[in-house]
Symmetry: C4
Subunit: 276 residues, 4 copies
């Protein structure tokens, strides 16, 4: 009987096929968004001062609801440890705890460590990842091009180190904002990625000339990651167009769709073996 | 006889095959552009003060012409309600009304609501969409990759929320411009999308280090939407060469290759009419 | 005899197969670059004041050399009018004339029209286009996607008009820099294209929220022109892989290279008709 | 015996198959990163003043270790000159020497030439390139599209020269920051590549209008290098599937399809070994 109750709870929490399951998902989604909104509002000083009590109470309500969710998830699953130490289990735990800890360490509220702890609640946003779906094409494409992209980023970093150092050497006047190599490398990255804040900008003609070269480089290099991911995605999509490589046993025409039962050319039966 | 007059009007307004139809389109195009120009000029204070009367009269002339167009469209169509509640019908209505309303509510001219109302005339620019052609490839590609792009944007937002919060924590000095989490998230979006205003920029070394990571991330991630749309467009172009839109007369399956003589599903003869 | 002399001159000037032809090209290239360098230096006030005479003399030398080139081109070609009214003919003429005109209109040197005239010499840079080669793939790809890109730009302009107007309405405080609709549209373009100068930036929270949306939009929309050109280039390159659509008369395997004389599968002679 | 010792050293230094070889690589990697970190820290004035002795000693230790590595590399290789004059040999040499030179030229420490010399140590970052792997697809794709990208960059430079000059003419008021043509060209590059520092921005309406056109241009043109590299990468991936590197034993033509049994050129049997 108790088992039956647990399995129903499991269905509601972990699945989305039933009415109750969907309702649970919607409520959780709203709670997460509300929770993130609260953390954001709390960081806006004027708002936090005016509506301090409101923020505190709302946060307590949400924290308690998330606590209930956390324990419900543990109870309803067969192997609780599997959930507890999973990515989402840890996110659920660490984004719920901070509020409770704030009870015990009240006096030292202004410490940075405490502030970081309170901010950890923002990681509740990761709970949204549950709704993304884990097996989509983009992730697969990014995963497949992981090494290529890693090489590319290393290449960018080497380039920026050298360019930054050269700029540090050139723009070393008194008014220059290229005061150190790390700062110059930061500038080189800002420029190469075409972000271009403008907080640091070259003042000498030679510096502007080299900056121009970096920009055109960055403008051209952006093609590389794009090319990598696009080529990967295009190859993947091709697999999905559902053309197989079989040729008709009668007329030998090729390029049949994967679900084809008969040759599009002569009408002969194909009996295709489905690829993947 | 009246019916004949209506059908001719319909031909002029809704079609562009006859000389009169083309002339109507050209005049409408000029009127729309002139109208948008007027709204723009009205917003430039110095100009509005000097040439107030000119702007007022011109706007009245254009408003009246658009009113005539609106009623002509209603009269000449068989099912007026279909036009009135269509996208273009509502655009036509709401971009014409404001000027008339300004007659009745003169005293409170400075209200923001009124200002918004007057600005609604700028939406006449949407009338230009009529000339774009509704069934082009780009829209189809964007439409086909709707879900993928949605997932991507959600991913970006989660990333920016976390990165913004981390930066808020790090850059919390007195002179810092990262005064709240929403503002920090705004900065993270500005940086990740490589826009880089520079109105907010990290001052600490650690902040600049993390900013660099965000930039390189953004520089790499831009590859994803590009890859999605490109792969989609490439597939479409391929489809247009090899797959026609005919469906099998026997089993109604679609997506046959252009040179197909028999249905790939049931083997029925297709006798397709070649498209293009 | 004179004819022979002309044809040799034609060979030197218009072709690059002989030693003299190549030498002529190299000298012309250096002259163009030197000429552009001079115009640039002339615009740097400090330099122009110090080295005024040097600039004047150098410019005269280059102008006279370009004049000689211009007449040599006219003399050595059979149909001079064809050259004179060609794109390069006009560029050659209009970039040589300004220096001569400066002789006649000395007193009014400071007029903007005069300044524009002098600057026209910078268009000598267009002479470099001769070396680019007119029939490259990029131009063909851009040409093939002309209409699609046109539609895309119109779409961008409509979007920026609406977004700019909305921002003008929202950011209408006293310190706001969104002082008029055209200025707001300018800002919307700066933001959507991810340029992000930062000379105008939203101050209100709502403004920053909408700005964030515009940025993410722009970050995503950049995929569209890239997708268009890439798909076009990919299709073109495919044509060049030299696979034809013929199938072997013996074993019916397809995908032969264009220059294939024999089937790669069974060794049967193909006698292919070359496509394109 | 000595020869045996040398060949073992060669194995450790030049290869990464043995335990010792891997250990050597890891230590070298750490040394390089530490060395670059030191150069960076040295450039941060406050740090250099406080921890001057620490920096000096650490740098001496690393320099001596790199010196040992350099000589070990020379000793263990059969043809030392091949290494000494190779790219990495020169990088190894020139990034080690500066510290020794600083012993001899102490008095004139502040000279720019000296500073440049010291900074050369940053080029040790190039030693990291050893770990990238020289034969990856990206480099091949960039190499294959070298000419196309060169043409593209030349096109960009011509465009920026003209646009910069036009802006110099338009934005020539007293407060304008477009003080010379080179500066205006610098601005045009900053804008076209969507970097957008904002250190120079148009003030007049006409200038902002033209700036908008440049931005949209740049936003669209970015598609070109992306398209080139993507098409190249896509083709490469395709080649890797269908074309093998075998050449015909009879006529030596290459680029056969993987499943080819006979040469497409002469009909000779191929008996290819399938690559992957």
């Amino acid at each position: 009987m108790a088992k039956d109750w647990k399995s129903k709870l499991h269905e509601i929490i972990y699945e989305a096929d039933t009415k109750e399951g969907k309702l649970f998902d919607v409520i959780l989604l709203i709670l997460i968004l509300a929770s993130i909104g609260l953390v954001m509002l709390e960081s806006v000083e004027e708002f936090a001062e005016k509506h301090g009590t409101f923020l505190d109470i709302s946060e307590w309500i949400i924290t308690i609801l998330f606590t209930i969710e956390y324990f419900a998830r543990i109870i309803s699953i067969k192997k609780p440890t599997k959930y507890i130490f999973s990515f989402y289990g840890l996110v659920d735990l660490f984004s719920t705890i901070p509020k409770y800890l704030s009870l015990f360490i009240v006096g030292s509220q202004s410490l940075i460590a405490l502030r970081a702890l309170r901010l950890m609640r923002i990681f509740r946003v990761l709970k949204l990842a549950r709704y993304i779906g884990e097996s989509n094409n983009i992730m697969r494409a990014l995963n497949a091009s992981k090494i290529k992209i890693g090489v590319f980023i290393m290449f960018i970093l080497i380039l920026c180190t050298i360019l930054g150092s050269v700029m540090y050497l050139i723009e070393s006047g008194e008014e220059s904002e290229f005061t150190s190599i790390p700062r110059s490398i930061y500038w080189a990255i800002v420029t190469l990625t075409t972000v271009g804040y403008g907080d640091i900008a070259p003042l000498t003609s030679l510096g502007q000339f080299i900056a121009s070269i970096i920009m055109i480089l960055g403008y051209g290099i952006i093609a590389v990651p794009t090319g990598i991911v696009t080529a990967e995605l295009a190859t993947m999509d091709k697999d999905e167009i559902h053309l197989n490589t079989q040729s008709c046993p009668n007329c030998a025409s090729s390029g049949h769709k994967n679900n084809a039962e008969f040759c599009y050319n002569c009408g002969e039966a194909l009996h295709p073996e489905e690829t993947d």
